[in-house]
Amino acid sequence: MAIFVDDNTKVVVQGITGRDGGFHSSQMLEYGTKILAGVTPGRGGQKFEDKVPVYNTVKEAVEEHGVNTSVIFVPPFGAAGAIYEAADAGCKLIVCITEGVPTCDMVKVMPYLEERGVRLIGPNCPGLLAPGIAKLGILPASIVKEGNVGLVSRSGTLTYEVVYQLTAAGLGQTTCLGIGGDPVIGTTFMDAIQAFNEDPKTEAFVMIGEIGGDAEEQAAAWLKDNCNKPVVSFIAGQTAPPGKRMGHAGAIVSGGTGTAAEKKAALGEAGIPVADRPKDIVPLLQEIWNK
């Protein structure tokens, strides 16, 4: 088991013929992800790596192959359009890797997805990797291992760092999920921790937050009352100056709120240990898990 994906996850990649889309589609295929089709308008009829058929539209990919999941590598100006298209064609899970999607576009996308019962992960995220089941996005397969720990993060490479350390310590994962660093995202911390809490295979999980917004505080409040599984956390950005966007559009301390200190305090109050360094995450998890 994993969260959000299973053995029936059949994938179409939008933007499969692009540099990044192509590179990562190869990696996903190598991992065993069921990529049944690709979409690049104008490239219909071609084959990706001589095996994956490319279509002009997601609708054709759904009709021909019954795909139910889309991974999007479309440039920012077309990313929202690609999400609408995948949702309209019937995909129930959409992972948007694209960085730099205008926030107003995402605001408009959200009710369209809600009306159709579609889960979106991202944008501006590394996607999801459920070891042994599917790799949807750009998380490197070399660092994961099948196991019982869940991981959710607003970051990309910081997620890899922590997954790498979990695996090195022999702690495999059910699902590694990067929800993205933008202010308006589909799947939130709250969605992810609730799914991990319900997933029978996930025995413990790690939450990697960062400055900006109050998603970590909300998650902390929910975990305090609803979760008995061991959870540890890390918050990036304690040295970030206020008012400056730290790369991620959502990573900004504004009006004195969204600081690392506030988040750490909220997590601490909810009884969730917060690691000082990334390397302390695994020992902290082992410590509370063994209790």
């Binding site: 926030t103 490479t157 040295t239 004195g256 360094r277």
Partner: protein, 381 residues
């Protein structure tokens, strides 16, 4: 991107919001000429990208031409929270009978544009939110329908329960503000205050707008609004090179792929007793040229005593990064030690490329940070 009040007012005006006229000027002579054009009294308002202008003495009412001259002289060149005033807005002064706050921002929780309005206008809304949150009315706007007439009117009536004419003007302003917000891809748009004159005429007399950098590609006119002089030179160079960079005051230059890891690296430098010189995300799909540009920007800061690369490859390939580091070091005269940590996609190719150079490799993030602090001799500095 933050823009000045006069630019925000130009946007508001183009969407039909009632904004008193005004002209942005850079000299005292122009300030006087504009004041003569509009007729007294006028306001002289400093244009800087920070709040608290009024408290700092950067906003003045002028009843005479002498006052226009004196105030413009005083305000031009004034320092407000580290921002030098280079431009002032000359705008007709209007009589104020009542003041309101109307603002919109992207709300992460509802994933919508949130309208906030209050009869406590003209003061810092953050303070009102902290002390008397019940005085701020909120409405999350459904993007499918926009701000509907009855929703806007309901908000207007809450602010002006006893005056339907004023409530209507506020409602209309809110609807126009929403159209402006969406139309200009804002991340924040505030009218503070929206005022009524004793005759009952509404005006947006102050304006604040932040624009969403991600939407730059569909607003060709935005580049012209950017205040290049208000930007840190290294941050400007980084932006032009497509790098996400924030200047800090330390001496450990950091080049990291991914914003979260970059923040965690800065935090770790601090943890081990050093001070990060910058935040820098070299981003996904990093090409060698980007790394060269990144190194140039960091090394332009003479305080930097050591360079720390922390690369965890996912979408960024380690061999690309290694090529970039080598290309950069070959074409540059670098006098500080460089510590490189490479892990992830194509890491073996990356490391074998680096093996023949005099860079200092590190296997983990902690080792890299400790080594950088030691080699740069920057502990406790």
């Amino acid at each position: 991107m933050n823009i000045h009040e006069y630019q925000a007012k130009e946007i508001f005006s183009s969407f039909g919001l009632p904004v008193p006229g005004g002209t942005a000027v850079q000299t005292v002579a122009d300030a006087v000429a504009e004041a003569e054009k509009y007729g007294l009294p006028v306001m002289v308002k400093s244009q800087v990208l920070t709040g608290g202008r009024g408290k700092a003495g950067g906003v003045k009412f002028c009843a005479t031409m002498d006052e226009v001259r004196t105030n413009a002289e005083n305000i031009l060149g004034m320092d407000i929270k580290g921002h030098t005033v280079r431009t002032v807005l000359i705008t007709p002064a209007v009589d104020i009978a009542s003041e309101y706050y109307v603002g919109m921002l992207i709300d992460r929780n509802t994933k919508r544009v949130l309208l906030m309005a209050s009869a406590e206008g003209g003061v810092e809304i953050e303070q009102v939110a902290k002390d008397t949150p019940e005085l701020i009315f909120k409405h999350a706007i459904d993007p499918r329908y926009g701000l509907l007439d009855h929703e806007a009117m309901d908000m207007g009536m809450r602010l002006c329960p006893d005056d339907i004419k004023k409530a209507r003007q506020l409602a209309a302003a809110m609807q126009k503000l929403y159209t402006a917000f969406i139309g200009s891809d804002a991340s924040l748009a505030e009218i503070n205050p929206f005022i009524f004159t004793p005759e009952g005429q509404g005006h947006a007399i102050d304006a604040k707008v932040n624009l969403d950098d991600n939407a730059m590609f569909r607003h060709a006119d935005w580049e012209g609004m950017r205040d290049l002089e208000a930007e840190d030179p290294s941050e400007r160079t980084a932006r032009e090179a497509g790098l996400s960079f924030v200047k800090l005051s330390g001496n450990v230059g950091c080049l990291v792929n991914g914003a979260g890891l970059a923040m965690a690296t800065m935090d770790l430098v601090k943890y081990y007793g050093g001070q990060p010189a910058n935040f820098l995300d070299i981003g996904g799909s990093s090409n060698p040229e980007k790394v060269v540009n990144a190194l140039k920007i960091i090394l332009s800061d003479e305080e930097v005593k050591v360079i720390l690369f922390n690369i965890f490859g996912g979408i960024t390939r380690c061999d690309d990064v290694a090529k970039g580091i080598i290309a950069a070091t070959e074409q540059m005269d670098i006098n500080v030690p460089i510590v490189v940590r490479l892990t992830g996609t194509n890491e073996e190719e990356g490391r074998s490329l680096l093996a023949s150079t005099d860079l200092h490799p590190a296997a983990t993030m902690d080792e890299a940070v400790e080594k950088a602090i030691e080699l740069g001799n920057v502990s406790g500095s």
